[in-house]
Symmetry: C2
Subunit: 185 residues, 2 copies
């Protein structure tokens, strides 16, 4: 089985009008994606943010739940947050995993944007042997095209059996993706 | 295919020490579970809370996103929140669906607590014909035993292919359960 890590990108992502923006850190994104990553056996959860004050906020949340009072109150949460890494950019996350040559970058989007990797195929790749896989999620209205152009694969969108509405939170989408790739079957 | 609804219970649930408590409403639970419910074709998402002021808070969030400025800013979110119903108790949710005789109540827990319904079997039941299914999630450390005793089935816990740590948020757990029951395969 291959090593899997995840990254949450706050820049460059799209806003509701399709403009490239930087989003603010959402506290529960820090928690929920850590908990999902740790539960499904991911080794790292990279929160990527270009603004130092936002990275410091993440580090303070992390410290509060590892060394602080909340970590003592909820040890399971402290354990979840051990996978959290706060970095400046997606490139920095890739570097932390050993560099672009040894990391397979899988991107996610809520809509089908060209050729996509099916979850069945993705799961069989995860279960095989090979280099580290980094699954990348966007905040806001999703990853900007400059990020989408730089990956090794684009995962198929999450689709429901009935209906064509899709407006999942990134917390929900990440949980579903990790379950489809790494959940017991 | 059967009608599926979900409920989020704030009382009676457990705290970290196993005591029965009432939890406070979390804003993102209102949003994320609405978005997951609407995406996967659930007809209703019942937020159940025994305290009137907490129910009013939910109604204010709902109004802000349906009639208020945020509803105009993000029409997809307004659409998600159309499934939200704020009620006093799980019984009130069941009554709103037609009463206990015509609702199948499926409970969820993070640990295996006796006989459980597998997701494979649950999915095939959803795809068949029959009465409305209400899938029930607990906040805090999960549903109290008095709730667990009153259901028709207990869904198997979400388990990862590797590792035995499980500390998902209710937002993540609900998303995964709905995907396993109602996601396209």
């Amino acid at each position: 089985m291959r090593r899997v890590a995840i990254a949450l990108v706050h820049y460059p992502v799209l806003d509701g009008q399709g403009a490239v923006v930087t989003t603010a850190v959402t506290n529960l994104d820090v928690h929920d994606l850590s908990r999902s990553a740790r539960t499904f056996g991911c080794t790292d959860y990279f929160v990527t943010h270009p603004i130092a004050a936002q990275r410091e906020l993440c580090e303070r949340i992390l410290a509060h739940w590892t060394d602080g009072s909340s970590g003592r109150r909820i040890p399971d949460r402290r354990e979840a947050l051990t996978v959290l890494r706060v970095v400046e950019s997606l490139d920095a996350a890739i570097d932390a995993l050993g560099g672009r040559a040894v990391v397979e970058v899988w991107l996610t989007a809520a809509r089908a944007l060209g050729n996509t990797l099916t979850f069945a195929e993705a799961r069989s790749r995860v279960e095989g042997e090979g280099s580290t896989i980094l699954v990348v999620f966007g905040t806001g209205w999703g990853l900007a095209s400059s990020v989408l152009a730089g990956g090794d694969a684009l995962l198929e969108p999450i689709v429901a059996a009935r209906g064509d509405y899709n407006h999942l939170s990134v917390r929900s989408a990440c949980a579903i993706v990790l379950d489809r790739l790494l959940g017991a079957r």
